[in-house]
């Protein structure tokens, strides 16, 4: 079975360790992710201005590409892109005036009326595959690795795009349990990492990271699982700075959910690209016997 797939700019370069294990894992689960042709950057953020239409063009164009392929679903791995694409899709479905204007502006494209559904990979795992079926395919249970699920913002807010309960999400907890890990709930799991403030007020980022990571550590987490490359960057870089400034600060490895998925399904760890991760995942994985001694990675993130 195949699913139309929108990668987003970041996954092809900086977040290969999110994409590659994801694609490989889904193949094992019987789903082939097929990249839509001629996709462009979705714009990363959904334009919040009532009169702004030009910033809707980019995400809508990608939805049109999916429609052109005869697809009724478009799957994403990047949480940032998911939010933008889904909100733009809702706009095209609900606002007739803007829909007409956008369609007539993009006169070189076919018309679009919200025919495609935007889904995130976690939704696909929960709704199309199911946790029980996933658990049965697990070859290397994650030996009760204590992983704190970190949702960030974009998968759960605003309410109209949420893939789970906004106040008490459980999707990552169920995902981790299916893989044999031990989910560690903590109060800051939906607190923002600082997002794009990293380019305008970068000094604030380590403070945002401190609140989140400290809370996870206090509740006994050994690692954090993420869905978004910007969260990864902010928490990873923030963690590095905190360790530099405060020698007593204990960091922890940051994983993408697709990496844990690939590991648990018994895929070759090379596909996970752990060398791109922050927080030295290698030593933790070895400690838990989730990585053989012969496997080694040159840490790039540190």
């Amino acid at each position: 079975m195949s699913l139309a797939y929108y990668p987003g700019c970041t996954l092809k370069t900086k977040a290969r360790n999110l994409e590659e294990p994801g694609i490989a894992s889904l193949e094992v689960l019987g789903l082939k992710l097929v990249e839509i042709p001629r996709w462009n950057c979705c714009g990363a953020v959904y334009s919040l201005a009532d009169d702004d239409l030009i910033h809707q063009v980019a995400p809508v164009r990608n939805l049109i590409r999916a429609k052109e392929q005869g697809q009724d679903k478009l799957a994403t791995l990047c949480a940032f892109c998911f939010n933008t694409l889904k909100r733009a899709n809702l706009l095209m479905r609900e606002n007739a005036e803007k829909r007409n204007t956008l369609n007539s502006f993009m006169d070189e494209e076919i018309d679009y009326g919200g025919e495609v559904e935007v889904v995130h990979l976690l939704e696909v795992l929960r709704d199309e595959i199911g946790w029980e079926a996933l658990a049965q395919k697990v070859k290397l249970p994650l030996r009760e690795l204590k992983v704190a699920p970190y949702y960030g913002c974009t998968l759960l807010r605003p309410r109209e795009v949420a893939i789970d309960s906004v106040e008490n999400p459980t999707i990552l907890r169920e995902f981790l349990k299916a893989l044999g890990a031990s989910p560690v709930d903590f109060p800051e799991s939906t607190r923002c990492c600082g997002s794009y403030q990293v380019i305008s007020n970068p000094d604030d980022i380590s403070e945002y990271a401190r609140v989140i990571l400290n809370s996870a550590l206090k509740h006994g987490a050994e690692a954090l699982v993420l869905t978004c490359p910007l969260c990864d960057y902010n928490l990873g870089q923030g963690q590095k700075e905190l360790m530099k400034k405060h020698s007593e600060f204990k960091g922890m490895p940051l994983f993408y959910f697709t990496q844990l998925l690939a590991l648990a399904l018994g895929l070759d760890p090379q596909v996970c690209h752990f060398e791109l991760n922050y927080g030295s995942p290698e030593s933790l994985l070895r400690e838990k016997n989730l990585l053989s001694q012969s496997e080694s990675f040159q840490p790039i993130g540190g």
Partner: protein
């Protein structure tokens, strides 16, 4: 902090534009402070989100212009989902930012980001940051 509220200081055009751009009814807010309570960036702000709404309602454009609050906002939507009146505060923040950006006054310039950061940052950071802070 003392603020003078008077019809003389009310900038009607500002209020109208914020309402239009955000598509939100500013009168919904009853100043409960939930937004400030859930805002992850509030400790870095000089004026809390709750105060910004009140100032916007009263048309006190200067106080808002002198505050860096809207530029510290990370559009995380925590305020939006938690507001008991369904007021979309993130849209109001965006409207206030746009009133400056559309005058061709940028908050940052791409060249202010160090070359090393430009290489390391994920593309979503560059794209989203430039969208929020440049016109």
């Amino acid at each position: 902090m003392s603020v003078t509220i008077s019809p003389k200081r009310l900038r009607r055009e500002f209020v109208r534009k914020v309402r239009e751009l955000s598509g939100q009814n500013l009168q919904l807010c009853y100043q409960c402070g939930m937004c400030s309570g859930v805002c992850p960036a509030v400790s870095n702000m000089d004026l809390s989100p709750r105060r910004i709404i009140e100032l916007a309602r009263l048309g006190l454009e200067e106080e808002i212009a002198n505050s860096k609050t809207v530029w510290i906002c990370a559009s995380c939507f925590a305020c939006t989902v938690n507001c008991p009146r369904g007021f979309d505060l993130s849209k109001m923040m965006e409207a206030i930012r746009l009133l400056t950006l559309r005058k061709n006054i940028d908050y940052i310039r791409p060249e202010d980001i160090s070359p090393q950061e430009r290489c390391k940052l994920p593309q979503i950071a560059m794209v989203s940051g430039l969208r929020k802070f440049t016109g």
